[in-house]
Amino acid sequence: MTYYVAFDLGLAGLLIAIAASTICARAAFVSLVLFMIYGLLLAIVWVRLSAVDVALTETAIGGGVTGMLLLGAAARLRATKASAAEAGLSFRLAAGALCLLVSVALGVVVFSLPDVPPTLAPIAKENLALSGLGNPVAGVLFVYRALDTLLEKVVLLLALVGVWSLAQDQAWGGIPGFRVYAQPNSILVFLAQVLPPIGIMVGIYMFWAGANHPGGAFQGGTVLAAMWLLVMMARLRDVPAINALWVRQLLVVGPGAFLAIGLLGFVFADSFLAYPPDHAKPLIIIAEATLTLSIGVTLALLVAGPPERMPQQ
């Protein structure tokens, strides 16, 4: 056990050190690279907290897609120098005191958590078998709190609509500006040819295994998005115009199928997003499979950003 204690102490110290340097680093680029390392370390913390589903999500999003999105933004802003002066010392001290107060208050809350912790685990486990799922987190996401999951996918779509709406008028319906990333070199092209077959298999496996083991639609979809982004960065395939019909169809097929299954619940079960007991698992698999595709396309297009140029005729 002492090994675990030492490991946890080291991990916590490292996490806080990396977070502090992310906040305090002078150069934006350094800060972003540290932030990606921070995301990966945080994933290890989630494993230590026995939350492997969250660890996978944190790796895919915190360490991966968010980092890429922020690096793309830093590249776009490279030409501009920060114009505002750094905040003054007294202001920083006041802010530091305030933040210390917030941290201490939260620490006190953690210290005074009830001795007998409230838990919904037994109830979650009790009815899980009815859904045919073996992973309790997937059970919460797709059965008990399916409405949250449906709305979360709608939030992703709304964010994409928001990002696209920031396009300039003449570029509307055009191709996202994706040229800020490195010119493709032979290593990038080689990796973009070798990795996607493996990555696509991993993505599909993560979605499939998600029913009974850690994983699921979101983690699998993120891997698919990463593979597509890699291919587009290496310019093996063009970035599609955002008004292409197949792009729009792929974006809505997942939330659409999930919503349709939810509405069928009114007819074949007793309420919205309820599944008929005999067919729960196949319906959940259909919803998850289509969501995996839609999530992959949505995440990749969120990273690609608003359209910037029209397709060449």
Binding site: T22, A51, D53, L77, S83, A87, A95, L98, A124, L141
Partner: protein, 108 residues
């Protein structure tokens, strides 16, 4: 002290660090990063609640875990939206910082 409590304190520190960066750094991109650190600290507090709720043979309560997964996705959506706003803001004004000062005085 259990490892869950240790990471709970860790989450509390991360919230403070993220809040500090959000308040003090004038660059908008750095504010977005700091906001993500703040958010991850809050998620970690959820993780501690989940770990403490381990029961029925599960390593952690699945309900807070599912909430955190949803939260991470929504935080990413908000980050993508914020980044797009920042890039457009930069295109319109040529600035990367937010300052209450008159832009003509900035940098002095």
């Amino acid at each position: 002290m259990t490892s869950a409590t240790l990471f709970g304190y860790c989450g509390a520190v991360l919230v403070g660090l993220g809040l500090f960066g959000l308040i003090t750094n004038p660059e908008i991109l750095r504010k977005i990063v700091a906001f993500n650190v703040l958010g991850s600290g809050v998620f970690l507090l959820f993780g501690v609640i989940a770990r403490r709720g381990a029961a029925a043979g599960l390593g952690a309560d699945p309900v807070p875990q599912a909430l955190v997964i949803t939260g991470i996705v929504v935080a990413f959506s908000a980050t993508a939206m914020a980044v797009a706003l920042l890039v457009r803001f930069n295109k319109e004004t040529g600035q990367v910082t937010m300052s209450s000062d008159d832009p003509s005085n900035a940098g002095k």
